[in-house]
């Protein structure tokens, strides 16, 4: 049997055009925006209400308020108690999802198309008339406090929760964990939720995104029916303070006695979503640690076997979120893994990337877009992101052209400007007794012991 033809990977066929769906926008008389796209072949519709009520808008002493507000959207409205609310949606086959980020709360449902009108009426009731009754809010606050306790014993969550306070100065909102602390959540009252709702849940600070088996006119008419007579005016957003905790390098160890792995978070403050270098940075990150075949993953996983996987990412927010390398490595190879991350970071900054790496990364990011936009939920989330960051609704029409335009020189420039390994904060959640001496040997600035529940020993 001759298999010579198998020596070469087959050539691709003729590419078929991918058209991002047409996106329509309408504004209701009360100022609420409706964003719509017809999408897919299945009889479902995703409805996302994007609320300008992220954790960055919380009062500083009420960390975790946005999170609690989002979960307490399940606590009922003026017309429905929490049990009735759950029954009204679930009998339609619908689950209400509530997500919170630093920049928004998103309340979303994906009903069968035939149930959309009924389900959206309930979603509108939740967003407009959430009642935050004392009993249910009290219960959900206790659950959030218990979750904070659980996260202190779960190494990945623990690492993610302490990163903020290792990277940012204590008065910066991003220094807090999104979920809050025992102290800040313990101080939240139902009236805090009602005030946050009154100030942030208003027609002009909310956008309804509808994607799926529905036409634009019906979408607008349905939105008008559910939200048209809603009134309210948002309060101004607080100014966002962003300052680094340390100007120079630092190491932060959270002790987990006997841990068999160290969770590592390595990086520094990144850039905001609106930064003009967004496209060169995501191409650079793809090469560095954003894809499976990235430099970091090939080094730490495939060459050294230190880890099951490693990723780097820019966490884009309205303000500059962290640029972060995340991985979990065997306790005995912790220091060597940190050294490799530092080495790869330095190499990227001093050498840039090869033409082949650049081409591959651009091809990857361009090709993967249609795969990431398969479902109504994926597309609605992508549109919600445009809304939150004030990006134009035709953004994805030329997204791929903007990736294709990134040059090797662009990457060299942004690597020099934005990659600063000499200022990295290195966070290690692991067995301090095993790793401390080696970590100190790196001579990467002061080594701090960090307690899970706040404070620095």
């Amino acid at each position: 049997m001759s298999d010579a033809w198998r020596e070469q990977a087959p050539e691709p066929g003729e590419p078929r055009a991918f058209e991002f769906p047409d996106v329509h926008s309408a504004t209701l008389r009360n100022g609420m925006r409706v964003v719509h796209a017809r999408h897919g072949r299945m009889p479902v519709v995703s409805a996302h209400v994007v609320i300008d009520a992220g954790a960055a808008a919380e009062p500083a002493s009420r960390g975790g308020l946005a999170q609690l507000t989002a979960s307490a959207l399940h606590a009922g409205t003026n017309e429905r108690d929490s049990n009735q609310l759950a029954w009204d949606l679930e009998l339609l086959g619908v689950q209400l999802n509530t997500d919170v980020t630093w920049d928004a709360i998103e309340a979303s449902i994906t009903p069968p198309a035939a149930q959309l009108a009924d389900a959206l009426a309930v979603l509108a009731d939740v967003v407009r008339n959430a009642a935050f009754p004392d009993g249910e809010v009290g219960r959900l606050r206790e659950e959030q406090l218990a979750e904070i306790l659980q996260r202190m014993k779960e190494p990945r969550a623990l690492a993610n929760d302490v990163v903020g306070r290792c990277f940012y100065a204590p008065d910066a909102p991003y220094a807090r964990p999104l979920i809050g602390t025992t102290e800040s959540v313990g101080a939240i009252t139902p009236s805090d939720l009602r005030a946050f709702h009154r100030d942030r849940f208003t027609p002009s600070s909310c956008t309804l995104v509808l994607v799926g088996d529905i036409d634009a006119d019906s979408a607008t008419a349905l939105a008008e029916r559910c939200f048209g007579d809603w009134t309210g005016t948002p309060a101004p957003l607080p100014d966002l303070i962003v300052r680094p905790r340390h100007e120079g390098p630092s190491v932060h160890i959270v002790d987990r006695i006997g841990a068999v792995q160290s969770e590592l978070r390595i990086g520094h403050i990144g850039v905001p979503r609106s930064h003009p270098d967004y496209f060169p940075l995501i191409v650079m990150n793809s090469i560095f640690g954003g894809a499976f075949t990235s430099r970091l993953n090939m080094n730490l996983r495939e060459t050294h076997g230190f880890t099951y996987g490693v990723r780097s990412q820019y966490t884009f927010r309205r303000g500059p979120g962290p640029f972060l390398v995340s991985t979990a490595v065997g306790t005995d190879v912790t220091v060597r893994a940190v050294e490799e991350v530092l080495k790869e970071s330095e190499r990227l900054r001093s050498e840039g990337v090869s033409d082949e790496e650049l081409t591959n990364a651009r091809d990857y990011l361009i090709g993967i877009l249609p795969l990431q936009m398969q479902t109504t939920g994926q597309l609605a989330s992508a549109l919600a992101e445009l809304v939150t960051y004030g990006l134009p609704l035709d953004y994805y029409d030329n997204y791929r052209d903007r990736i294709a335009a990134v040059t090797a020189e662009d990457i060299r420039r942004v690597a020099r400007e934005h990659m600063r390994p000499e200022t990295f904060a290195i966070v290690v959640v692991g067995d301090a007794a095993s790793v401390r001496e080696g970590i100190e040997g790196l001579k990467h600035g002061t080594v701090y012991e960090v307690k899970p529940n706040g404070g620095t020993a």
Partner: protein, 424 residues
Amino acid sequence: MIRIPIERYRLDNGLDVVLSREDAAPVVALNIWYGVGSRNEREGRTGFAHLFEHMMFQGSKHVPEMGHFALIEKAGGSLNGSTWLDRTNYYETLPAHYLELGLWLESDRLGWLLPAMTQEKLDNQRDVVKNERRWRVDNQPYGDWDERIQALMYPPDHPYHHSVIGSMEDLDAASLEDVEQFFRTYYAPNNAVLTICGDFEPAQARELVAKHFGDLPRGPDIPPIPGRTTLEPTLGGEVRETVYQDVSLPRVYTSYRIPPFGTDEYYTALVTSYILGYGKAALLYRTLVREQQLAQDIVAYAFPIVVGASMLVIWATARPGRSAAEIERGITEQFERLRDVEDADVERAVSLLAAERLNELQRLDERADQLSMYTQLFDDPERINTEVDRIRAVTPQLVRDFAARYLGTDNRAVLTYVPREVGA
């Protein structure tokens, strides 16, 4: 309800092929299910099916080391594989014009994996998998629950007695000879289903499948699953285990033996799991979480597994100050209420299940995986379209009968985690 189109045929070498066209976007999903999972592992080699899965990404005769990942990512695709009790699957989603690349890669590792195997690759992936075990199990609160539940629920000679990830000791023992033997035994066209789903021309797809897979030789017959594969319908007693671990809150897992995935009674179990533990109007959420505030969270899950018997597992984390024993009592009490389960409870569960299926089948990779699954496990890809009818056929009376038969204390394992101070 929409209908997923299906064309199915078989190559002479035994490869089962399922084609399902959907041209809404220029995307194509490939998926292969091999009829081998942790259930096929021999004694002393737990975790091997999964370690082997990792070796399938290390290159083959015509594909260089790391070529598999590099070529797919350069094409703008995504890929992975996974191992479970009953199967190992491999899949990639690609821009439609790269269909042949996926077929070339999948056929090369099925036809020519062994020429590319080296001790160095095995040692590297052994380290990666050991770190995967630490990441999923050893460094995670409650991380070993499924391993413990399986050991409690299945007798030592049953293939589900041990976990997919396996033990560190057995991973250390795995050799290149094991890789070769496992490959020759289980990785054959006659033990695989290939599904292509998405934007393709059916005639061209058939030609490409024939070109890449047609000349692979049929393998020997697949040996039967080792050990005991039939079980009594119920446990016939209660088994218990308490684990002291570095966790913040107590948690209890209760597990009931139920009929295997695919049987009519399994669908009753599935609907019952939604009545009990899925959504905020579910019985156990309403009572244990919202009203009594004993539990922080509650989940009920029916395992889609087929050998001998499956499990319905319910777990709940205690609120601070509450104990696992209180939760366990609460769950048992609520089971009494299944005796007079109402129409609305069943209607809610069925509506959620039906809508969930509609939503998840939007994804081509999900469709392809389900088509491979129904073909591999039940020889019937059409189940992707008829499954919802089986769910809709569940009535309150069936739920009451199911609860009476399977949800008693004489048919369960109870696994309790109790917080323990470390370093104290």
